[in-house]
Symmetry: D2
Subunit: 473 residues, 4 copies
């Protein structure tokens, strides 16, 4: 499909936000915070608010600014809220899987906003079906909702019960009559951070969400922790025994906004460090360093700094690029990448160019970009990639591609170089990547190494089977 050819990026499934703040317009605050999390999902958005008794919900498809207006925001009353931004692959299922998911339970309203992917979803689904519970969607969130509402005790113990059963990646924000709960899986795959505002506390996928409300970072939620926001402030308990930590490296490489702080590290800083390490590992005899804007820019700046070569803009990005469903004719086949990028010939003519990208997934844009640089006059083009080759699909909440689509899963380094027609090609090593991040372990590098922190064999098969049941929905 054409719309995806002009992009070679993995997709994060969601951004989540929640707060407990009596006296504040919590819906409005959530709106502005979701705005800052828009990069984690552009296909849908939703907000649930409550005073603990009555819950209000509005969700829809599109960007945050398209889903909400003064009229529907005005109905979202209460002193606590959860919000969600969502990426979704198929149009027709968008509304069925939209979040937050709100239900009535014996213990009052329950709203769930979820970021991640449960690797044992098939067996959890099956357990629910065995209990006679019918499932109306393919989403993990519906499973989570039923596991939480079906467990005994108070909300805290219900969450613990859920954590004892669930495997995989989940950062959750829950709205209940007892307050807002933040939950992070025992591996810590996906981020979750706590902040403070005058009227109370907030939780978000990334600290960049705090910018529009002026919240200050308190701390990141640790793997297996449950944090509760209520009239008392916030309290943290260990909800499940932490597993070997497995934070998603790709959050640092590409997903997170550069102004966020993840795992105590500035994302922008990590990206520059990745570029520097790449320069050390894979230097090239060249004249200039050029980024693939915008995501490759900090990596390229780091590469340039370390290599001593000048950092130069060589590709202009069309700021108004959006999805197009118009097919280019053969005559316009070059239009696909040209719609997004254009070379700056004056900076390129006669130059030996090092082009730095943050990652290569399917490899469908790298070749046209190399050609574009050559058309712009580059004498040589050396591609440098600020992460290792992606050879394995993600089962922890990222939509990368089917394994058969991953170019590094099927081609050798030299074959890829020929495929993209670069004079040289080098990726960052896994070891070098971790060195740049200044960690030796605690990160999930499964997409590079195939070493999945947890068992995921049934996943793909089940996904296919499940889609059989629900058809086109």
């Amino acid at each position: 499909m054409f719309p995806y050819e002009i992009d070679d990026k993995p997709k994060e499934e969601c951004g989540i936000f929640g707060l407990f703040a009596p006296g504040l317009d919590v819906a409005r605050t959530t709106y502005f915070s979701l705005y800052a999390l828009q990069h984690r999902g552009q296909e849908g958005a939703g907000i649930v608010t409550s005073d603990g008794q009555v819950a209000h919900i509005h969700k829809g498809t599109g960007l945050v600014a398209q889903v909400f207006n003064e009229e529907n925001l005005s109905h979202l009353k209460g002193h606590m809220a959860v919000g969600h931004t969502r990426y979704s692959t198929t149009g027709s299922s968008v509304m069925r899987n939209a979040q937050p998911y709100l239900i009535e339970t014996l213990h009052g309203p329950l709203a769930v906003a979820h970021n991640g992917n449960l690797t044992n979803a098939p067996s959890l689904r099956n357990n629910l079906l065995q209990r006679g519970i019918g499932l109306s969607s393919s989403s993990d969130t519906e499973i989570i909702v039923h596991l939480l509402s079906g467990a005994g005790g108070d909300w805290m113990s219900r969450i613990r019960t859920f954590m004892a059963q669930a495997e995989g990646a989940y950062s959750l924000i829950l709205l209940t009559r007892d307050g807002i709960f933040g939950v992070r899986d025992p591996w810590g795959f996906r981020p979750l951070v706590l902040g403070k505002i005058d009227e109370g506390y907030v939780l978000a996928s990334e600290s960049c969400a705090f910018s529009t409300s002026g919240a200050e970072i308190v701390r990141e939620i640790m793997p297996g922790e449950i944090v509760r926001l209520d009239e008392e402030g916030y309290s943290v308990v260990q909800g499940a025994h932490p597993q070997a930590r497995a934070f998603c490296t790709f959050e640092h490489i590409y997903f997170a906004r550069p102004d966020s702080v993840l795992d105590g590290k500035s994302v922008h800083h990590v990206r520059q460090a990745l570029g520097r390490q790449l320069a050390r590992e894979a230097p090239a005899d060249a004249d200039i360093v050029v980024p693939v804007p915008d995501s490759g820019t900090p990596h390229a700046i780091g590469y340039a700094q370390e290599s001593g070569l000048p950092y130069t803009e060589g590709l202009i990005k069309n700021r108004y690029i959006g999805r197009t469903f118009i097919q280019p004719t053969d005559r316009l086949r070059r239009a696909s990448v040209a719609m997004k990028f254009n070379p700056l010939a004056e900076n390129l003519v006669g130059q030996r160019v090092i082009i730095v990208d943050d990652s290569i997934v399917r490899g469908n844009t790298s070749g046209p970009l190399v050609q574009m640089l050559r058309d712009g006059g580059a004498a040589e083009v050396h591609m440098r990639v600020a992460c290792p080759p992606i050879k394995f699909p993600c089962f922890m909440g990222v939509d990368m591609a089917l394994q058969t689509e991953l170019i590094a899963a099927t081609k050798s380094l030299e074959e890829i170089r020929q495929h993209i027609n670069a004079d040289s090609l080098a990726y960052l090593s896994v070891k070098g990547m971790m060195h740049a991040i200044r960690e030796s372990d605690g990160y999930c590098n499964a997409c590079f190494t195939g070493d999945y922190p947890i068992n995921v064999q049934l996943q793909l098969q089940d996904k296919a089977q499940f889609q059989q049941v629900f058809g086109i929905g």
Copy 2:
């Protein structure tokens, strides 16, 4: 609210349709059949199709012709289908309560289309919540879905288990891997009829739905029966012991399309008979008989036939009337009813007019209509109503009004006459109504008599409480 002032009609909650017909385009057939059931709900429509393994769904808000197009119909594949048209009070909840409701269960897909109202929904909801099942909507259909998926045995025994628990009005059409099931509650509140086409069998709320597919009526489903459509044809079992029969009289008076056959009787014929009986019970010394078009037309024809007075059109109805949300100013206050009706002065001048309507609910349009006839030149206006005074709300699937809004619940006959400024006013008696229908019992006349066939005390309180939980949703 203005849009409702120009209408004084009760609202039926839904129309349902289903069929099992290998070799037929079941989605298209369902589409045309829902078209003929559009009078039972104009706010939303949906179709689920399946081959028993994979289910496909499309539903949306608006008229059938607005919800479906060739593109979305083309995805609805299979050899069986259920469809639904829906009336709904509040815009924002339309999609959440839209039908058919489709879920995955341990036993394959389950789709439910429901017409009715469960009078013990509060306790059924509570049972589900006690079992730890969270509920995502205020609809009975979600309750039904969970009760069916949570029961044991095959689909037939699950339906029996449901019927043993449920109280109130329900005509259901279910799609399962075992075929299509039609279910009618043991009281027989709402209609359900079986038909035959070349490729198989169909089920519908009313026989008028058969017109567009050329189906022939086989028989009406009896109270407490379950009918199953599959490769073998159809089979009927008694799913629950029938209760004292309580078919909704209002289906005959107003809801059903006049070309339908209900309880073995032509609806149009019953309406003319109601008019005749009204003429016998409440004659008037007048010159002409005029209907309130279109629903009062057959009753007025019957009245004219019995009375020997000439039947005359005295009010013209705007065929393009739709919902308007524009408020008339005081200056335009008469516009409200004038948007819908206009008098035919030439037929009215100097005449003593008998105006016949099928029913009066709130009484907000009768007064303006009487005045309109007087403005048109009528010398006298005698209002005759082809059913008894409506004094009690319906709990079996009809949205009439709150009891406090029912004019006959708070005013005497003489007070109503004065309120609408008629020269005389008479309603049909309950006894006369049943005489016209040619039945002495077996009908639910609770809205006239307050004798509810089943216990419904908790209903209203619960509805209010429930809406508290879900807010504006």
Copy 3:
């Protein structure tokens, strides 16, 4: 195309309304008045208001209730207004040809609402093009606007200049800084009527538009007259010498709402008289008289009254019929007419039926209706049509069909009878029709007789040529 197969009616091009009423909410009053003119055009609507200096406009596609809301009405300020409802054949050109048409001129704003068709449009267009004026649409209204703005003198003399050049059907309402003008062509093809309200005067295509504002009829505008509404009240002048009068007979037969008064005659009364005359001219040995609802109902009532046969409902019309673009399969081929009508078998079984329709255009629904009556049990079916055979296209503002599509243009009476499979078929005679209308001349019967009151040869050729220039636009 399927959507048109279920309707065999000619289409009126527009309804127009205007008023001068300081102190009134003129936009709101126009809104409610357009509501009552909705039968003259359902494809688009527009309102222009002004205080004489500043003009405000809002127009859009769809029904009046869909185009306007409180927000856009609130911008339409001033003490005078013109409004328009429009029927249009092609979706894409709707907005380009939408009315009213508003321009700035040397003499202030000019808004034009037009009902009719200029038969010398080709030469008028050519004159304008010769003057170097480019035309941005295919509409007569743009021609009128340019002829008015290009003429000299005050608005009254500009209108006279226009009338001296224009040929064909035009009822116009103009908004200028000098007030509202109503203009009717010298033949009087299309209706235009003046009314009085407390705050001033109103003009409308039909008097039914007065119902929602409570206006009283003052008089109809005569052929060639110009009426002006301003602070002084109203004044009438003869703008052009009247031609041999040629009021459209079809306004009486089908277009106008039955509660309107046209040419001093109640439309409903004329329709009953047409039915009576039809009974005299074309009796049948039958048992009952059945209308094709709703437009054939008054004609059938008249037929029944004159013939002494009982008037009976034999076809039920689906009140929710709308445009559908879903194609029925061969299996569903009967669905087409069945979507709109259904027989009432109990009234038909064994009966010899006279079915009365107001007119037959293409003849595509009569056959299925006859068959439907037979399927419903009718022993014989005698079709009676309350106007003469339509053999010629209209060039005065009605979209009937191409001549080749008119069944009576290509088939004899007996061929039509066989085509629709009726036991007998009879049309009203032209002479009988005029007798029923109680006029011997003064009416345009060109669609029946081919005697066009004015020269129209160039019309069709030009229309085709013109569409060549503008393509699909």
Copy 4:
């Protein structure tokens, strides 16, 4: 109004494109080319195609990718096309002023796409009105259309006649039966460039539009020239005597895409040169140079290169920023700028920061940005602006602001510095700017100097007056 507070940029009115290319899918090529001109207008888009006889048009509101789809593109047939992207201030007038403007003339279809502003529009309008031509919009384009269609001779001579009357900025692309014409005003205010593809020739506002079709730059159209594209290829004539050249400096500073070539100069290169000159003129004792992304980035790179200070990212821009109409509460007042930018504290802490922006218009975002840098830890903040103070409104096609809104028109340098709370503030000098562009004259610097190349006194007054006539329409 809030949506504009988060942006302090002038708005270009349009981008234009045209081509003559038999054998090519000209609509599709225009679509992809408009995509690359999206930065010149995001409010509307349109395409007209033709074979010389029949013209086809589609236009609508929104981004190019929103306006067009395969279905509407498929109707746009022919071998030549013009396209347009548009910025517009008011929603309701978007469609009325949408371009291209297509009319029928005596000489076949005429479509006009216009970029610019006629400074003598008032007198041209008046001439047309005096000639009795009514005007249906406030757009220059309608004036141009009437002047062209009203002139004598062939299209070339009509264009010359137009040029003899018109004053101000206009780059036009016309579609006629004689081919495509490109016209540039005698001052050369707005750019227009000719390119070559295999099948013919193309014209565009900027050369960046050539990227998606693979067109090669042939030459820029010179002031006063007319270029004609037809079967013969292209031909150029001098349509009007060139005036003292006055190319818009702001095209180089901000409007044009950096990969375009304007006046023979790479835009990106000019922007870096402006930054270098700024560094020479206004150095600061600081540690790092930070851009206001994205438009200030090349200027900042140039400043850093010249100053020898390190170039660093200090502000992260939200890539998903769009228009929002949600008002922040007082509590969220900082959200406004924070929705668009966020500081990178790690790069800022303790640093003396030079922040480089391309321009300051109203000055409403500079203060919050300075504060954001301070909040991020900057020790000092020195604002440098890569153009001179904007003190005068533009009348040549740019929507900057009313003069009273221009901060430099009402405040001194020191007052502005205090207003934005910077430690120092400096603008580039006019002389330095021209030095960087390597031109001493030939540019319009009226917004900086007030020296308008042509008389524009009546403009503003007329605009206000005109809007009076058309109201909100």
